[in-house]
Symmetry: C2
Subunit: 562 residues, 2 copies
């Protein structure tokens, strides 16, 4: 979000907001204190007993918030998600937010939160952006317990005949730490372990995060954990967590992390913030457990998925809907004039200046994403998320272009005004739902081959004309089908900056080829990752990390945190 | 703790116990719900505001529980700590427990908890032994954020001229993971960081754990963090966290971890479980913040320190008392007949059989520890912690030997009977306090040189006749005095199994030499570590890790956890 010297920081706005005890927020959705496990006064987990009881209730409608191909700064998808939910509550619709929880790594590195912004934020923002209720720490711990158990298995005789060159399970930290991307471990002689190459991913890229987010309950979680492939043995056969016999221990470590976290927006809309898998190596959606619970507790759930509609929304619609047994009632596509101008060819430094012709050119990117959502049989509304530098003329032009293409669109000012700034969007979304035009179906059948699934996405969602598979990927296609993994959906790993696999190709590229470099089995999560281009699973810190400005005062209040 | 087939597991006993809401336990020590930050119904952190208010209250008496030189299984020090506190409450003395919190690494590896045992346990044991309130995760995160910031500093131009061969800050995980002891990081070319040797410690061995445990409040915590030495520059001068400018960020990450955790024993005695530094590389005591808070909230505080009186108690009395401004009123020395027979030369497999002559011989170890406590000017009582295989004759013999040496002793049966089994011990401890014979003083002055401090401990506590310093250690003595670190107390790193630095020398060895191999500055913690022999700062997993037996049922109940 753009700021100027007179604009308050998100942290200042958050601290000046009135926050209600979470038991009061819970009471508004029919939950008693017995349904909650409190984490301080303003955060709570919902107990398994309560989740079980909710199963018999009828489901509310799910609204998915996605975006155009984003700029590096993001287009305010979380902010619109929060603002839309607040706006719906303002018009008397019982609404909840279901969002991803932030990773600490980026928090220490680059200014920018994952809890919305301005007056469309989730509270308590300090806690949520720091350790929150410890979910990510539990995932880190389970991930690394498994890694330690694998290396201990090698050290203690290697009964499973694991090929130490083919261990695919990596270690993880919730940190931006480039020096851990490629490491050699087990050095120092025979009592210090078996030397081998290894690497660390950021925790949100761990398959365990994806497993937690796609599991329907604790037993399903355990089953998914047991199926995770950790290595190949000397016969090139997959070795799983079940072979190692530690799925019970891992599930135990994740017991509390599997319960969704209840917090509130600045306007006291109840919000479940739970799970946050990477949107490249994984599917980029909050947990199935939380989305389902929210849909039982409210009449409307506003949720979001990572990056643009070609990535997060595609995965929400092809992967998460199947695991969760839910279908959205409508989709919101967030667009900013800034980003559309960038898609129209304006360099980053000149985005503040008015540029109608670039805006008109960049519109093609938005148009493609609306077509994608139409292919899934879903109604949508474009949310034009207003930024400070947007001119009247630009806004008018964009609205006119949408109108001429019969694209429903609403300007939102939720950063500045909270729910009030999302009133028009809320009205249009409700109208789209009332029109009952939703006729949702995933883009491909699970019985299609892996190759066919990838082609469906590349052609229909990205607009590619051909798909190439590397020699390695071709070999893997055959192997994966042989292992019985061909029935799983596909999770594409692709740059978020372009509809193609080349981040330089902005706007709406045409006539391009998608190259699948490698496949990766995420059998516990229940999908096959198809890697196109380089995928970053452990970010680095910038030259001036955000950590340098962070501090606490004597009462423990944070500063420098956004 | 010994078990037979008819004895219930600690987990079974814990689960069958009636646990009170923590707000009710808090009410008993004058704390209202507003003083607490709840973590579920049975755990709470005490807020900084409340800790501030407590400062003006008068202090209760602190009872330190220590032990003879232990066997690998431990002598039940935590169990006696809990049982004694329960026993004191039974006779109407308002008493609290202040203990260390467990590390997950050993939990996944070797059966055996850190929350007491049998009917002298702290609840909820499952939670405390798993993630508890996330303190250790926060410490791991702060430790690794610092490591990532150091490597990022190298990557971004190395303005501080850090000598990459002399980075002393290691990474940490709360895991037993031997393969991470010695690693090479930063591989993969220029964008992946600067290649260098590194290693991981278990989180409880991180200096940040010691810092958290010795800090008096949040501002002191930040000051201590800023003083931590992370590396030496190319001029061989120390580089600190303050030089890097990230003490505020680290303190922010530790904000909640710095608040003590309130739980309860099976008999509802309030217990603060907070901090758990290694007793070798660090001082092995729970936090100063918790011990102080407990002493303000109750008339008696029962606390413990790691390993035998030569290690944990020595460090409590020479290091923690100075940081905390407290002096214990009495000491309990836990002894078991099993361990004394081992000190008398009985091999591990034969410890179950009666052996009076070995018991008599091994008594020398206990005698030495009583003399150590006398040198600190403190009254003490020996707690003979009864085990199933102890014979009547052995118990009688040990009591008679204590009597003939004027050593006050009481048999405790707290594992089997809870507080009732600690009645006699409680009576004798109260008598020792009432006699007002305590005349506490640390063993050395801070103005003594590092060499003199080490000699004081080696001669007076261990019974050594000479202290040798390696060439490296001699050079470090001069360097450390030059850096102004000579005024700090010394934290000895020595095997817990012997009074000497050779784990094979059981009983009461005499005429031996202590060899100081190396010194390590823990300037944030505020002590100089003197390493004798090999010190393990990252444990490994056994051939059959405890993780293999862990599981959860559909309601999320744990099994296989002790």
């Amino acid at each position: 979000m753009e700021t100027s010297t007179i604009v308050k920081s998100d942290l200042e706005i958050a601290r000046e907001s009135v926050i209600k005890p979470i038991v009061d927020v819970a009471a508004g959705i029919g939950l008693s204190p017995d349904d909650l496990e409190l984490y301080g006064k303003y955060k709570a987990k919902i107990s398994f007993d309560t989740l079980e009881k909710l199963k018999t209730k009828t489901e509310g409608k799910v609204i998915l918030v996605t975006a155009i191909s984003p700029t590096p700064a993001g287009e305010g998808k979380s902010t619109v998600t929060v603002g839309l939910a607040d706006a719906l509550n303002r018009v008397g619709k019982k609404t909840m937010v279901a969002m991803r929880e932030p990773s600490l790594g980026p928090t220490m590195g680059i200014k920018g939160g994952a809890t919305g912004g301005g007056y469309a934020q989730v509270l308590p923002m300090e806690d949520i952006n720091l350790h929150f209720t410890g979910d990510l720490h539990a995932i880190t711990t389970a991930n690394n317990a498994l890694a330690a158990l694998i290396d201990n298995h090698l050290q203690q005789g290697n009964e499973l005949r694991i090929d130490q060159r083919r261990i695919v399970w990596k270690r993880a930290l919730d940190m931006n730490d480039r020096a851990l991307r490629k490491v050699v471990i087990g050095l120092g002689g025979p009592v210090q372990g078996v030397p081998r190459e290894d690497g660390f991913d950021i925790t949100v890229a761990s398959e365990i995060m994806a497993v937690l987010c796609l599991a329907s309950d604790l037993q399903d979680l355990k089953k998914r954990l047991s199926r995770m492939v950790i290595a190949y043995n000397t016969d090139r056969q997959p070795v799983t967590v079940e072979d190692l016999g530690v799925e019970g221990a891992l599930a135990l470590l994740l017991r509390d992390a599997a319960k969704p976290n209840l917090v509130q927006t600045i306007e006291h809309t109840p919000a479940l913030i739970h799970g946050g898998p990477f949107a490249n190596i994984a599917h980029g959606c909050n947990s199935v457990i939380a989305t389902r619970a929210a849909s039982k507790l409210a009449d409307f759930v506003v949720t979001e998925a990572g990056f643009g509609a070609d990535l997060g929304a595609e995965k929400f619609l092809n992967i998460k809907t199947r695991a969760a047994g839910i279908a959205p009632a409508a989709v919101v596509i967030v667009a900013t004039i800034r980003a559309l101008k960038m898609h129209g060819g304006v360099p980053k430094k000149e985005l503040a200046a008015e540029n109608i012709s670039a805006l008109k050119k960049g519109f093609a990117n938005l148009k493609k994403h609306t077509e994608t959502i139409e292919q899934f049989g879903l109604p949508y509304v474009v949310a034009i998320n207003r930024f400070i530098h947007d001119t009247e003329e630009e806004t008018k032009t964009l609205l006119e272009m949408c109108k001429s293409e019969s694209i429903p669109a609403a300007v939102t000012e939720v950063w500045e005004k909270g729910g009030e700034g999302g009133a028009e969007l809320a009205g249009q979304v409700l109208k789209a739902i009332d029109d009952k035009k939703a006729n949702f179906a995933p883009l491909y059948d699970l019985s299609d081959s892996i190759e066919e699934k990838i082609a469906s996405i590349a052609f229909k969602v990205y607009g590619a004309t051909t798909v190439d598979f590397s020699t390695k990927a071709k070999k893997q296609l055959a192997e994966f089908e042989h292992h019985g993994w061909g029935v799983l959906p596909v999770c594409m790993a692709k740059t978020q900056y372009s509809l193609s696999d080349d981040p330089q190709k902005l706007g709406r590229p045409e006539g391009f080829t998608i190259t699948v470099r490698e496949l990766k089995p995420s059998i516990g999560a229940g999908f096959i990752v198809a890697l196109t281009g380089d995928v970053m699973t452990m970010p680095g810190l910038p030259k001036q990390p955000a950590a340098l400005k962070m501090d606490i005062d004597e009462q423990g209040n944070a500063s420098g945190l956004f």
